[in-house]
């Protein structure tokens, strides 16, 4: 795990070596989705909440930068706060409604709200509408403003912090309740802890991490568009989590790296890359129940659901 993260931190050095910014863009994108998948997985892998709407929160984070900048609010801190507050204000009531349901109904409600906001942002003509908009001025962070390497490295730092935070959280008292609700909400209620508030808080934290990912995405690409909120992207986040191993903390990061690098590699190789990528994902998810990282970190068989909560490899 340390190796993978260290490799990410060394990418800027490599860019300088080969004198190209392309790796920085590629790996920046991977990091963004790793962070988002990590966030989603707190709800998905540890709380059993299959949300098909988390790309919406990436969009909120990105539009906080885009709209903030367009309206003259360039402070990076304020934009980040805007992203976090807007996300909390949407995620809390949405989660509260969605969590009254289970299974397919939960998936459909999260999807429905995400689609709703997707079309809201498409209709915002003054902020680019369907085409999206180029961000003229990136989030202001003093002398570091607009420095791609600085953005990239803070993204690495954010990812490391998020991994650490989630690893602590799932082992904490809160995490114990959350993981128990995934198996049996009834059990948790019977011991005197109402399950809903805990699930809701996990859902909101998970949304916030996606918003932070979106904040970085906008700064890396200098661009926002409703495409960041597409439901297919929400689906891809789920695939990343499952691919890497949703019962582990680090799994989604591995899943994001594997999926996007595989996609990139196959694109160079053939135009019909999706035809090859699809079956590979299916095979991995079917045959490696613990996902890629589950296999790497813990080859011994173990009941899924993860009493270990996560691997601190």
């Amino acid at each position: 795990m340390v190796l993978i993260l260290a490799a990410f931190a060394l990418v800027p050095l490599y860019c300088w070596w080969v004198d190209s910014v392309y790796p920085l863009t590629l790996f920046g994108r991977i990091l963004v989705f790793a962070l988002a998948a990590l966030g989603l997985n707190l709800a998905l892998g540890f709380g059993g909440m299959v949300s098909l709407g988390h790309a919406m929160y990436i969009g909120f984070g990105a539009y906080a930068v885009g709209i903030g900048s367009a309206l003259g609010m360039e402070s990076g801190v304020l934009q980040l706060l805007l992203a976090l507050i807007a996300t909390a204000l949407i995620a809390a009531p949405l989660g509260w409604i969605a969590l009254r349901t289970q299974g397919i109904a939960f998936i459909m409600i999260t999807l429905a709200f995400a689609q709703l906001f997707y079309y809201v942002f498409i209709s915002l003509r003054m902020f680019g509408g369907d085409d999206g908009m180029t961000i003229q001025k990136l989030s202001a962070w003093g002398p570091l403003t607009g420095n791609k390497v600085a953005i990239y490295l803070s993204l690495v730092a954010a990812l490391v912090l998020a991994i650490w935070g989630i690893a602590r959280t799932v082992q904490s008292r809160f995490g114990l309740v959350l993981r128990a609700t995934m198996v049996s909400e009834r059990r948790v209620n019977a011991v005197g802890t109402p399950s809903l508030p805990y699930r809701l808080v996990a859902y909101v934290i998970s949304a916030e991490l996606c918003a932070v990912a979106g904040y970085f995405l906008a700064n890396l690409t200098s661009f926002v568009s409703p495409a960041y909120m597409a439901w297919t992207l929400s689906g891809e986040l789920i695939v990343m989590a499952l691919l890497g191993g949703s019962a582990t903390v680090f799994g989604p990061v591995v899943g994001a790296v594997a999926l996007l690098l595989l996609e990139e590699g196959l694109k160079a190789f053939t135009e019909r890359w999706a035809l090859i990528l699809g079956p590979i994902i299916v095979l991995i998810v079917v045959f490696l129940r613990q996902g890629l990282w589950g296999l790497l970190s813990d080859p011994s068989e173990k009941p899924s659901g993860g009493s270990s909560g996560g691997s601190h490899g």
Binding site: F174, L176, V177, A190, V191, G192
Partner: protein
């Protein structure tokens, strides 16, 4: 064993009714249990025993009647709130969390109890780290004889051991009233004896409602026995009276033998 008439009942049901559509599953059940009492509820399959327990626990809302727990009218309270006030239950079918270790299962219940400080929004410290919560978990595990299995996942333990975790979880919320839904179900004779011994030891500290098919266990443990038939309490009396009652024999013992 009889309890002094002055003992304040911890659990009090008055005219509890539950209907599923046109079917009357619980038909005006009155029942009260004081501390130190084990009140056994027996009856043929389908008599509504588990429904009654679910009503008391709050998983099913009652259509009529009222329920008092430790002097509070809890008729409209949700499950978690009743549990928090002092109602513990064990399930007929094991509902321990298989992927959790024994410690984690019991901790889940302990941290929801009075030692937990009212909520579990603690995000940073490892839950199983040293402290008063984990001390209490170990204490309970020693009490039920599971301490040797503390760090093994519940899923790999024997059925009998899982039943004990189930009981430990019910005890761990520090309840005053215990609802035990067939604690002997699926246990072998040796394990059953051990469970009976354990419940006897616990008896003075709790008011217990025991739903059980094992008649040996019922007549060894119970201070009072209610016979439930079609949701109605046919008779509620001391074990000796119930065992020799003619109407019980007709309604119930036709298909099952009381040989204890």
């Amino acid at each position: 064993m009889s309890t002094p008439a002055s003992a304040q009942p911890l659990l009090n049901l008055r005219g509890l009714v539950k209907r599923f559509g046109g079917l009357l599953v619980t038909d005006g059940v009155d029942l009260s249990i004081a501390q130190g009492e084990i009140h056994a509820v027996i009856g043929p399959n389908g008599a509504g025993k588990t429904t009654l327990i679910n009503q008391i626990a709050g998983e099913l809302t009652s259509d009529e009647g009222s329920m008092e727990l430790l002097g509070h009218d809890v008729t409209r309270w949700p499950v978690a709130r009743r549990a928090h006030l002092g109602l513990g239950r064990s399930y007929q079918i094991n509902s321990v969390i298989g992927s959790f270790t024994t410690v984690e299962n019991v901790l889940l219940a302990v941290q929801s109890g009075p030692l937990g400080g009212g909520h579990n929004f603690r995000f940073w410290k490892p839950a199983t780290g040293p402290g008063p919560l984990i001390d209490r978990v170990d204490e309970i595990l020693r009490m039920v004889g599971l301490h040797a299995e503390r760090d093994r996942p519940a899923a790999v333990l024997s059925y009998g051991q899982q039943r004990l975790i189930e009981l430990a979880m019910a005890l761990a919320t520090e309840p005053r009233v215990l609802l035990l839904d067939e604690p002997m179900a699926g246990l072998g004779p040796v394990e059953t004896e051990r469970m009976i011994e354990l419940l006897k030891r616990l008896q003075p500290h709790y008011a217990m409602l025991l739903v059980e098919h094992d008649m040996h266990a019922v007549f060894t443990l119970a201070s009072r026995v209610s016979v439930l038939v079609y949701g109605r309490v046919l008779i509620c009396d001391e074990p000796e009276v119930v065992r020799t009652s003619e109407s019980v024999r007709e309604a119930y013992l036709g298909d099952e033998e009381i040989s204890a």
